[in-house]
Amino acid sequence: MLTMKDIKKVFRTDLVETHALRDFSLEVNEGEFVAVTGPSGSGKTTFLNIAGLLETFTSGSYVLDGMDVSNLNDKQRSKIRNEKIGFIFQSFNLIPDLDLFDNVDVPLRYRGFNSAERKKRIEESLEMVGLASRMKHLPAQLSGGQQQRVAIARALAGEPRFLLADEPTGNLDTKMAHSVMDLLHEINANGTTIVMVTHDMHLAKQAGRNIFVRDGRVSELHDVSQSEATDAISA
């Protein structure tokens, strides 16, 4: 599903070079639910952005769904993001001026679906996250948990193969975080591959596999040891 080999990502400014990823290698298989943890600044978001084609990388190779995505142009990358990848963000990133219906509609319009198809998908995905009755509400009229559920509906409406989540529960209280996690499990159970970055070791443990990132490299953990977990949380 996703194969990264020796990915390097260097951020250059006039004064400094930041090596956000160094020889980052990872393979994620179809249907997996992978949780990525690691200290702040270790490169988790950078990895997720590269995985989701939001950012390019300096060197290495990346094959997504059987396709080498290293040298695509903006249009091709946008199309892959739109069709194959769903994104969930820490701060939800709903568009404040659009109601829930129009928010979920955003990626579907870029996809070029006709309006009947879009309507069906919007209603189904809002139904799935339990917010179909609030289609005409603006994001600001919802709680954080509800907003994140709308974001999930938006990510799923296009039926992506691959869901990327960067700290999806980071802005939520425990109760709401759990309900979002339940939703992600349900989605994963339906066959969508999920990669989730999180600070929360408890939530990470619920995933099928844990990846630990430190200094831009992967150290894969099947069983998170107490010392590293503490390390990750305190970082």
């Binding site: 952005n49 950012e55 946008s78 739109n82 990133n93 568009i95 001026d97 129009d102 319009r109 870029y110």
Partner: protein, 406 residues
Amino acid sequence: MNLEIGPIFRAMMRNKVGAMLIMLQIAVTMTIIANGFSIIQERKALMARDSGVDIANSFHLSNVSFAEDFDMQTAVIDDLKAIRELPGVADAIQVNAIPLSGSGWSMGLQTEAGDDIDGSGTAVYMVDDHALSAYDVKLIAGRNFELTDLRWRTDNTNDWADVLIATEALTKSLFPDLTPQEVIGKTVFINNHEPIIIIGIIDKLQAPWSGWNNLDHVMLTPDRLAFRGNRYYIRAEEGVRDDVMKRVEETLSNRLSGRMIQGMESMEETQRESYTGASGMIKMLTLIMIVLTIITAMGIVGLASFSVNRRKKQIGTRRALGAAKNSIIRYFMIENLIISGAGVIVGAILTVGLNMILVQAFSLTPIAWYYVPIGMISLLVIGQIAVFGPAQKASSIPPALATRSA
């Protein structure tokens, strides 16, 4: 391709103030530009009216006596003889007033005698038998003045000559249904009761006042002027006007004492001065239109830049969700098209409304219908050009901004 018009419009309606202001600015700009253009075209058309005379080669001067015993009658006869003999002079006359000069005489003519009868206003030029040639106008019916028609008009003359030559425009207003040939020999009345016979009709000649409605109404009377002052109107041969002007001035100044030759001016200058108001207005309107267009374009750039900055995160998110750069550019172009579209529709209504007021208040020509669509299209194009920069800036916001910004 999905145009997103619905969501763009709905999102805009949740932030209407800025959009409304720009919309109104576009409407007002269009209103002023369309009406301004219409007024400019109208003024230009007025300025381009045929004067009837040979503007490029003609000039005039005034001849004023100050000596008590100055013999103006002899002076006029001898002056004209001297001028007409000068090389390069096509013809010359003495006259009481000059076309487009701003000052002159006007009278009313009527087709029946009587005190309360509406007449046609007309300018009066008192000339001799050389007038048609000096003005370079065409006689389209009847005859020119002959020496026997001429008489001397002094300060004490109160009556009018027996015959006149009129412009076609004047005879048309007096006798709308008659052909020029049929008008010849007709009697008209001046000062309500005094009859004059029309003996000739010329194609075109303008009154002294360019803003007058009856600019083309002119009557020529066969009067030689024995006033203390009069004017000479001279037509030079093609291309030698400036030399002739010098020669005439020298000749006249040297010929006699007891009088002054002054105010020599080419008809080109006279015509230009006559329209200084109009050409000043054209310049001012053009300036206003340019400034207004720039301000509106800047307003559009400002609003778009502001909304790009405000929506950075949203744009990054849209990019993350699959918007290509083009889709982002298109978003802002369409948003502008909606604002400008509303602006030019309101503008079209205001344009016609303002025009109706202007037509009423200042009796302008109603605006030509096609100024409205041309104005609408122009402002739509200006809007699209203005928004393109900010739209392009928006499209360069990286998709990673979706995860990087708080």
